[in-house]
């Protein structure tokens, strides 16, 4: 229910007095309400829940999480891990 997904704001417009936007989720475009992220600009990523953007994703914070893991990422790539939706349960088998 509280599922919310990241998407990229590709267009901002107004409709019926509300700030709206088109969001690109890996190729699928959807219209969502942007009233709750008034400062958003195109090109930024937002978290969308039930037709409303509820947060602008913070690039710096997202990066911080991975700083310690950069090395691990390189190693993963070397070993040919995909950075895709691999069920974790599978990693034991590898």
């Amino acid at each position: 229910m509280c599922l919310a997904v990241p998407g990229k704001v590709v267009k901002i417009y107004e409709e019926g007095g509300l700030k709206m936007g088109e969001i690109d989720y890996s190729g699928t475009i959807n219209s969502v309400c942007l009233e709750y992220v008034p400062e958003v600009e195109t090109g930024q990523y937002v978290i969308v829940h039930a037709g409303f953007a509820i947060s602008i994703l913070d690039e710096k914070e997202a990066q911080k999480v991975f700083e310690t893991w950069d090395e691990a990422l390189d190693k993963a790539r070397e070993q040919g891990f995909t950075i895709e939706n691999n069920p974790l349960a599978d990693i034991n088998k590898k």
């Binding site: 509280c2 997904v5 309400c33 039930a50 409303f52 509820i54 947060s55 913070d58 691990a72 950075i83």
Partner: protein, 367 residues
């Protein structure tokens, strides 16, 4: 997709698991609050990969699952009326009421429509001025901004044929209720990331302090969840407790002020019954008197409808982290996603449905 794939990286997950293994020395019970987290944990087998000292219990974080039976009965009573277009998020349509679910009302001729956003319901009200359009406004703090905006807009436009059945619930009071229960087993929380996106996490500090439990607002991808677990395990092992934000890319301490403003404009805090748990004081949101004209429960006079919950479903115990789905005698037998007896089997985020979908019923059936 950016902001998703990197949080699904198996190598990082593996390293986090190693870190957790290195850190843990004692048994701990950790509750993930949100059903989205439960789903991710079961789907990715995280609970099975963790060291045996760590037990994850699944919290009451599925709004569909905790919507009380009588609210469903009230919704059904409205949906059955002539001249009503009843709109709802898809998950709610199959939740069993006392006698039937909303889909059955639809098959009997009721005009019931699934919407993805409450603004779609508002649009239907504009396009059907001769009909009453009712929206089933359920959810946690995450969903409240959208549902509040639909109502606020309706009032602004003077759309008198739009109203909401509101059964909103608030997460922190439920977290406190679980901790104060004499049966409580929870020693740390992974707080619901998207609830915190809207509300922030300042309100968790007094809870962490009062009950001496670490609370970590956590995201939904495997790497998020493992980081959340590592954060609380580190605290538990050291005997510390604070609020440590794992989901900083989407959550700030104050949350989203624009969203909080509209929520506070149209809704107010009220007592609320939780399915399977019972009434929790000040744990819900209701429509303010100022917007009473948009309150479907008043408009259609259904507030008097009350209901008793069925006995065989143990979802109340599951939602409190006291039992696991396979411990329910009818799990996977007379209760399946096709024929759910309880709401935790209906919603994709309900613990029973997650266990069923990811084959966790095999072991249970063998017993």
């Amino acid at each position: 997709m950016k902001y998703l794939d990197e949080y699904r990286n198996p190598e990082i997950a593996r390293q986090l698991l190693d870190k957790i293994r290195e850190t843990v020395t004692k048994p701990w019970v950790i509750m993930e609050i949100c059903g989205g987290q439960t789903n991710s944990i079961i789907k990715n087998g995280i609970d099975q990969l963790l060291p045996k000292e760590i037990e994850l219990v699944h919290g009451p974080g599925c709004p569909v699952c905790v919507t009380p039976l009588e609210m469903i009965d009230q919704a059904i009573s409205i949906a059955q009326r002539q001249n009503v277009i009843f709109t709802s998020f898809g998950d709610m349509l199959r939740v069993p009421g006392t006698e039937k679910d909303l889909l059955q009302v639809k098959s009997e001729g009721g005009d019931i429509r699934m919407v993805y956003s409450p603004l779609e319901a508002l649009k239907m009200a504009r396009e059907n001025p001769d009909k009453e359009v009712v929206f089933f406004a359920i959810g946690f703090e995450t969903t409240a901004p959208g549902n509040a905006m639909a109502l606020f807009q309706a009032a602004r436009e003077g759309l008198n044929n739009f109203s909401e059945v509101v059964s909103h619930v608030l997460v922190p009071p439920a977290m406190q209720a679980l901790l104060s229960s004499p049966d409580n087993r929870v020693q740390a929380y992974l707080a619901a990331g998207h609830v915190c996106t809207v509300m922030g996490y300042n309100e968790y500090f007094p809870i962490a302090e009062k009950y001496k439990v670490p609370i970590t607002p956590t995201g939904f991808e495997p790497v998020d969840i493992l980081q959340g677990i590592l954060s609380v395990v580190k605290q538990l092992e050291k005997g510390e407790y604070t609020v440590d934000n794992q989901y900083a890319r989407a959550v700030s301490a104050d949350g989203n002020p624009a969203a909080q403003k509209i929520i506070n404009e149209v809704y107010e805090i009220c007592d609320r019954k939780w399915r399977g748990i019972g009434e929790i004081p000040r744990s819900g949101m209701c429509i303010k008197e100022k917007y009473a004209a948009y309150d479907a429960s008043k408009k259609f006079n259904v507030s008097h409808i009350k209901a008793e919950e069925p006995q065989e479903c143990i979802s109340g115990l599951i939602l409190q982290g006291l039992k696991k789905p396979p411990e329910c005698p009818v799990f996977g037998k007379s209760c399946t996603p096709e024929h759910p007896l309880g709401a935790t089997m209906v919603s994709g985020e309900g613990a029973c449905a997650a266990y069923y979908r990811y084959q966790r019923f095999a072991d249970a059936l063998k017993k």
